[in-house]
């Protein structure tokens, strides 16, 4: 594939996603507080309807054995359960950071683009977190 034009479609998808999460306030610390305090439906409505549309789309695409623009049959890799420790423990650690900062990785990039300088510090801190994980990985239960 022509690498440059091949990548452009991913830039376009990201562009739309970035606009949506800013305009629907998913990137707002206030909305995350509201969600974890069970005081508003907004975030639940967004996650629930996104999930429903995604689930239906995956079914339709895989049942029809649709091919991607690159020509391969669409299929999602299954995740390995292993002992499952990484999912509950890693998930809880992630949740602590999400609840503290009010931002997960997608919103961090959108906020950086929206001109919040502190989002760059968030991204840098998240990079260090991922880097420390990379070094500790052989010793952590998964």
């Amino acid at each position: 594939m022509n690498l440059r034009s091949g990548l452009l479609r991913y830039v376009a998808i990201g562009l739309l996603f970035g606009i949506v999460i800013v305009k629907s306030e998913v990137v707002s610390w206030y909305r995350i507080q509201e969600m974890f305090r069970f005081q508003g439906f907004h975030m639940y409505g967004i996650i629930g309807s996104a999930l429903a549309v995604a689930a239906l789309s995956i079914r339709l695409l895989t049942r029809a054995q649709r091919r991607s623009a690159e020509g391969e049959v669409i299929a999602l890799a299954r995740k390995q359960m292993g002992r499952g420790t990484r999912y509950w423990l890693g998930g809880t650690i992630f949740g602590l950071g999400w609840g503290l900062s009010g931002a997960c990785p997608g919103p961090m990039f959108a906020l950086a683009g929206a001109g919040y300088g502190s989002a760059l510090v968030l991204i840098a801190s998240a990079l260090i977190g991922a880097w420390v994980y990379a070094w500790l990985r052989p010793r952590l239960p998964h």
Binding site: V11, V53, M81, G97, I123, W131
Partner: protein, 187 residues
């Protein structure tokens, strides 16, 4: 049109559009939606040392996702500057009261409270905990769990993955603990 787009988007417009990112990426190149892998790719590209987890060929496997992340930042810029609403975010009245007890003013024109996200707030203990420790935990936790809100809570759950359900329950447990236990202590 621009005026209409500039108003905050309701959940029933935003949610389905976010859900459509999943088939869009599958159709574009059989790619699985998940933003946090970019942290891994950026680490491999920028940070020193090559532990096994960062030894992957990030140019080959991550270029599409990094391109999407660049798009997300661009979309954030378009939304914030071209589609700025100028009206304060309509937060639940009970949440306004609760965040006031944390010493945080209700939403103004921006999406984030200045008390935490203004760059000057990084000089406070609370600002450091929220931004630096919070960001660290997001990066560490999503790498450990193998996904974040997009990879597990949307793609994984939509594909009926049990590991993703466990991870999402963890996201929620951690988020509840942070908001109800940690925030009152650091404020």
């Amino acid at each position: 049109m621009l005026d209409w787009l500039s108003r905050p988007w309701p959940w029933y417009v935003a949610g389905p559009l976010i859900g459509l990112v999943v088939p869009a990426l599958l159709l574009a190149g059989n790619r699985s939606f998940g933003v946090s892998s970019n942290l891994r790719h950026l680490c491999a590209a920028l940070l020193p040392g090559k532990p096994e987890f960062l030894g992957h060929d990030w140019r080959a496997t991550g270029a599409w996702n990094l391109a999407m992340a660049a798009g997300i930042a661009g979309g954030g810029a378009l939304a914030a500057f071209l589609l700025r609403s100028g009206e304060p975010l309509l937060l639940a009245a009970s949440t306004r009261i609760d965040v006031a007890s944390l010493g945080i003013a209700p939403p103004g024109a921006g999406l984030l409270p200045d008390e935490i996200f203004a760059l000057g707030a990084l000089g406070t203990v609370r600002g450091l905990i929220v931004i630096v420790a919070g960001g660290f935990l997001v990066g560490f936790g999503s790498s450990y769990a193998g996904g974040c809100t997009s990879g597990h809570a949307i793609t994984g759950l939509a594909n009926g993955e049990l590991p993703s359900l466990i991870a999402v329950l963890g996201f929620f447990a951690g988020g509840l603990a942070a908001v109800h236990l940690l925030w009152p202590v650091i404020s």
